[in-house]
Symmetry: C2
């Protein structure tokens, strides 16, 4: 009878989701009405309300759920683990949202969700309430129809993603067994474009540092001393200028040594993705793209390491001229890392390069900030295969396999602390105005994401 139930499972789950589509959307609206702004202490009670909402919906779905206090905002932990022989998936999401400012740029108020032209508009619609909620609704559909899931599922829905997830690592570190799983599932990324659902299988890592060049013990008169003393700003500029050559190639020895090149299949897959370069530069207000020669724009953004100065300052920065030789100058530098690059090795080569090229007469000070390595998931793992099938069933089209240029620290956390890969299944769009006014999320993607999630439990259980 069990087998029979399971084989009929998705049939009844699909029916249930179709029948409850309107209620699910109403519930999402209820969640979006809660102004759970983690950055603003005025909204503490809303944070609590949102955590309670999520917890209650997990319970209503048929899961166990609890609200776990942290030094910051609480974490909602849910679970349904009654399939002892099946794998366990850990769903991660967040119920906190970005501040909605500037308010006057919203067409409708940020916490009064409204559907227009097939999109639901509200702060948090895509980031991440709407995307996260699909997984609660898919679990409900299974448990309320079949009465069980083909897999075990755990939920960690945190309230501090928009303010740095300060307490998430501590929680997981202290609760490794509770969080133990075979694969993590996160819907907090985007599709490649409308009608192009995507699985993000690679992320870049990051190395952050700061370099200060010290010259004279105080700002000096550039007339009295100019020409006799090394100028720290000129020196720093010269140092940074040497880091990248005219071809956009980073000149730090060994920088590319460990870089895992793209496979021919990946290059072909990236090349096959629609990408309108002129629209891209137009939107950014620049006249041309720029970067490492020999690679396409997508390849450079997703799979090549970079070296960018994120900030620079030294000497006089007020209005008009002031004729000094500054005492010091500082640059904040970060390198985006790609798979197989070790952050510590890049830090070492960076520091060695800076020291070697530090102009005479100047003293160098180097500071290293916390970073994280790149992520590359196995494209052929059974989890990845399950996700591909699930998305194809849910969206009616096979997902494109993409990478992202940024980092998602929680993916590293899951790898480091739980030893698992993460399936990054994006239901949103890059044009959903996340972190901006008029944030939105396609209602169709909300329903298809929920269906894909239901299929994911089915496929992972195979």
């Amino acid at each position: 009878m069990r087998d029979e139930e399971e084989s009929k499972g998705m049939e009844s789950v699909q029916k249930y989701l179709a029948e409850n589509a309107s209620r699910n959307l109403d519930e999402l609206k209820d969640l979006l009405r809660i102004p759970s702004i983690s950055a603003d202490s005025k909204y503490l009670s809303s944070m609590k309300e949102a955590a309670e909402f999520v917890s209650q919906k997990l319970i209503d779905a048929g899961c166990a759920a609890e609200i776990i206090e942290t030094d910051g905002h609480p974490i909602v932990f849910g679970s349904w683990t009654k399939s002892p022989d099946a794998p366990t998936a850990l769903v991660y999401g967040h119920y906190d949202v970005q501040p909605p400012d500037p308010l006057d740029e919203w067409t409708t108020p940020p916490f009064e969700p409204e559907v227009r032209d097939g999109d639901i508009y509200a702060r948090g619609a895509t980031d991440d309430k709407g995307q996260m909620y699909t997984h609660i609704k898919s679990v409900e559909a299974w448990l309320q129809t079949v009465g069980k899931l083909p897999v075990n599922v755990k939920f960690i829905i945190e309230g501090e993603e928009e303010v740095g997830s300060d307490n998430l690592d501590k929680f997981i570190e202290a609760n490794k067994e509770k969080c133990a799983c075979d694969v993590a599932v996160v819907s907090d990324t985007a599709q490649y474009g409308p009608g192009m659902p995507a699985i993000t299988y690679g992320l870049r890592g990051i190395m952050c540092c700061e370099v200060t060049l010290h010259g004279p013990n105080q700002d000096l008169h550039s007339g009295v001393f100019g020409g006799s003393i090394a100028n720290p700003v000129n020196g720093l500029a010269s140092l940074i200028g040497k880091m990248i050559d005219e071809n956009g190639t980073v000149q730090i020895p060994g920088f590319y040594d460990d870089v895992l090149p793209l496979t021919d299949e990946e290059r072909a897959a990236f090349a096959a993705l629609p990408f309108d370069e002129s629209k891209y530069i137009g939107g950014l207000g620049v006249s041309a793209t720029h970067g490492e020669q020999g690679f396409s724009t997508l390849e450079r953004r997703w799979s090549r390491p970079t070296c960018d100065v994120n900030g620079i300052f030294g000497g006089y920065t007020g209005e008009g001229p002031k004729t000094i030789i500054p005492a010091k100058a500082t640059a904040k530098i970060s390198c985006r890392l790609v798979p197989n690059q070790e952050e510590s090795k890049v830090v070492q080569s960076m520091e060695a390069f800076l020291e070697e090229h530090c102009p005479p007469g100047l003293r160098i000070e180097f500071k290293h900030y916390h970073g994280c390595p790149a992520v590359l998931c196995d494209l052929n793992s059974p989890y990845m295969q399950a996700a591909k099938v699930a998305i194809e069933k849910g969206f009616g089209t096979a997902p494109v396999m993409i990478r992202e240029g940024g980092s998602i620290p929680v993916v590293g956390t899951f790898k480091d602390l739980l030893g698992v890969d993460t399936l990054l299944l994006g239901w949103g769009q890059n044009t959903d105005n996340l972190h901006s006014p008029n944030e939105k999320f396609s209602v169709d993607s909300f329903q298809r994401g929920t269906l894909s999630s239901a299929w994911l439990w089915q496929e992972l259980g195979q």
Copy 2:
């Protein structure tokens, strides 16, 4: 009888100065007690008091004097012009002083002058009340003994030197005839060292500009966009890095074309001056001097053009890391100019260089600030010869002929508006703590400066 009087002139002048040395010092103390801080509007009444003091002392000396209101602090104008066939010298000085902060670093209060170990300590002692006052006392000595001067003398003693001399040019422009003269005399510089009175015959000029490189229309996420878009900070650094090569040579085409080289005599004279390089770098807290190869430190400071970044800023400048590609980056750049370089030509070459090397994908914005050309006085003019003799008579040693690396805008004003050279006769020392706590001025130099000034009127009248 006239000739007889004149030939005996300096004898009685010297006697008068010796007899009145103590009173002259007391008067200087009275002037130093007035907190004439031009930058601080709390001291408006003190500014007025100082102007009245100077005006009265000019009248007491035997000159005509008036206080001329400006849009800022008043200018004291004095004159004695009863030698129709003799040349006219215009003495320039200032009665305003720098703010005295930090007060707790003064051994005795800044406006309670005290003589210790042969130096008089007070704000304004050397800059410029003490130095300026020597010329009033020398004129008095002539007029109160001989009854006339061998030359005509005019005085412009302003009250805005420490805040940019905003109203001086306007005054001179509007009163060219009143200010007309054959040579200007300024004692607001320093001796080369103790017992080494100096005439500064050359000053560097300056060209100031600001360059901004514009990239994307807003700060971008360095993960999402890094590698595909030109970074304005990296671009600006690279641009600045190209301005000066490893030998300290400015790479802007034509930059050195018009530079007047030092004569062999000048190089020999500079080389003969005592200069302790290790003390120099020790005092500045650097490990080495740095600059254009092939020139000594003094040559580089006094006679070679420079290109210094005075300030730079772009992107994130707060604590810790922030991973953005900044929208723009700005550098404030100035070039010290040397004799025969035209500021407008340097501006043009700078702008052309920046535009030529602006990395692709970035847009350049260039702003030019007001500058001034270098000054080089004729070492063999009769005025210069007169000053040399006068100082040797006053100090008992021939002056050294030096240049300075900075600009003294008023020298350019006198050249441009009145068509005259300026004799920069420094009675102070570089170690007199001007603009710092415990400003001082040697009492001996005050008296010798006054005597030299008296000799100057004699020599200029020959």
